[in-house]
Symmetry: C2
Subunit: 338 residues, 2 copies
């Protein structure tokens, strides 16, 4: 069963709590630490985006279209819909001979509230470019184009794009196809549920690929290029005031980090070649920062200075609308370190 | 310990879950049904608003200022900041010789997204009138004025306004002052934590007061006026597409219902003189509708027709940004009925 991970206090009591499961493994699959159920089956949601971008590199599509490091980062992103995100997606679509009309991710308001408010004030219209997954979908379109697969069904499970992704998933996460459960993601593409340690393995391998100067296999090089792209473009992977961006900016080249919907978070720690995967039971993202920073701290990966710099994610203060400090969100667990 | 109450599915698995505690008692304090811990200490947050409005009636302030049924409903409301809400708050403030500048609730965007978007498009500024608690704060200002208490500290615990509320709380909820824990609410006023059954008792008494044609005591009349005001003005208590409004509109005069932040919900069922209080552990409001409708259903209070009309709250479908059904939120508990 899952464990209590986070307490939300108000005044004299703990008002709310968040439970969940967390696992840390190395790139060989050895369990390093955990709390809760290390076999819990979960959707990694957007934390799986590097998996979904890998076929771009393995097939040669990325080189064929000369995808930049920034564009690869955007293919792995859950971006905030800020101008730097949408402009880059738009320019890549144009280079592919495509447009926003080819995106099948649907439309939602930019995550970045100020961007959204500015757009409304200026009478601008929200489009699929602002969908946090528009970079991933553009990557899938690039792969479809490279494979000569149908462009209008790139989000369907039987399209070669999704079949390539599923093959890569089995190889990288070392899981048999019949062990994978399926669903549809918030942006319409297939998502896959696996035991939590299989997603931790993906991030351990991303980390290990960067740690190695010359990865031996093609897949190692592909992982290295993707992880490096994410770490080199932390603002593109998420956006302003986002945990992924802050983590990767505050420890450049040392950590590759990616959020997923419903309280998912994955981290690869380069120096150790280890990966962490977290799933909050109730899906609330406010619990993620406290758990991730606390886990990295308990694993003794953070200096006092780094921990301090990330304090607003570690123990966020709760300030109400009239400006009064009313409580805090704080970690409340101890990792079992093996 | 709390119990599993709600499952959130996606494709082939349960992706997230919500736990919590729920208790149903009658107006005499007898336990009718529960799941989880019936003694769990919690803040009722905005579900306590009827308590905070009661002194208006008990002191004579409401009659002195000729507060309408609509204005009393607004004093108990967590409104969506739609024009009908803000206009009524503004007109009441004017009648009291006050203005938006006297409100100490702080500013947040209207809950009603379309209202907010329209305001931005039209260049309108969000004010404290749009704060979901502006009606409650206006009620507190009316009480302060009636009591000749300082107006600029009506939100402080030692102001006569808050002292009156605390006296009423002890009387109605039948609890000793040293059993109450304190905190500060999202809008800056004191909030009180008590065992969950004490808040259920408040709603049982609200329901019972309506059931009785002639409540015997002054407090019974005050509860009856407040409960009737809420039931007669369901749109003012919450707003468009809100559970409180939908519940009270779909069963006029039979149910008094009020949400609170952090996954709290209270219901008074008039015909039975019983009250329900729910607290979701993790504070997520998406779990509230499924639990409340399921609990009312298990208590055999809803007709098949009523249950059907509330289906979008009972088992909400999860549809993604590209319009595909990806899962549902469903109740997953059985009440222990005594």
């Amino acid at each position: 069963m899952s464990e209590l991970l986070v307490e939300v206090t108000r005044g004299e009591i703990v008002e709310s709590v968040h439970r969940g499961d967390l696992v840390v493994i190395d790139f060989k699959g050895n369990l390093i630490a955990s709390t809760g159920d290390p076999n819990r089956v979960m959707f990694a949601r957007s934390s799986a985006k590097p998996l979904q971008a890998l076929p771009l590199l393995l097939t040669g599509a990325a080189d064929s279209f000369q995808l930049s490091s920034a564009e690869l980062a955007l293919a792995c992103a859950s971006h905030s819909g800020e101008p730097e995100h949408t402009e880059l997606v738009q320019s890549l679509l144009a280079r592919l001979g495509l447009s926003v009309d080819d995106l099948r991710c649907g439309v939602h308001a930019p995550y970045h509230q100020k961007t959204y408010e500015t757009m409304l004030k200026n009478g601008q219209v929200v489009t699929a470019l602002h969908n946090n997954c528009s970079g991933k979908h553009t990557g899938m379109l690039a792969l479809a184009k490279f494979l000569n697969a149908p462009l209008d069904t790139y989000d369907q499970r039987d399209n070669p794009v999704q079949e390539h992704i599923f093959q890569v998933l089995q190889a990288v996460c070392e899981i048999e196809s019949d062990k994978v459960k399926w669903g549809v993601d918030g942006c319409g593409v297939p998502v896959f549920a696996m035991p939590i340690h299989r997603f931790a393995l993906l991030y351990a391998k991303l980390a290990e690929s960067v740690r190695q100067e010359n990865p031996q296999e093609k897949i190692g090089w592909a992982l290295k290029r993707l992880a490096s792209a994410m770490m080199d473009n932390p603002k593109l992977v998420a956006g302003s005031e986002r945990l992924c961006t802050d983590l990767m900016m505050s420890m450049p080249g040392r950590v590759v980090a990616k959020a997923g919907a419903e309280g998912v978070y994955c981290v690869g720690w380069v120096e150790k070649g280890i990966g962490l995967c977290l799933k909050i039971d109730d899906g609330n993202s406010r619990a993620v920062g406290p758990v991730v920073i606390e886990a990295l701290s308990q694993l003794q990966l953070l200096t006092a200075e780094e921990k301090n710099a990330l304090n607003r994610w570690h123990r966020p203060s709760l300030v109400n609308h009239s400006g009064t400090l009313v409580g805090e969100i704080r970690p409340a667990f101890e990792l079992q370190i093996r």
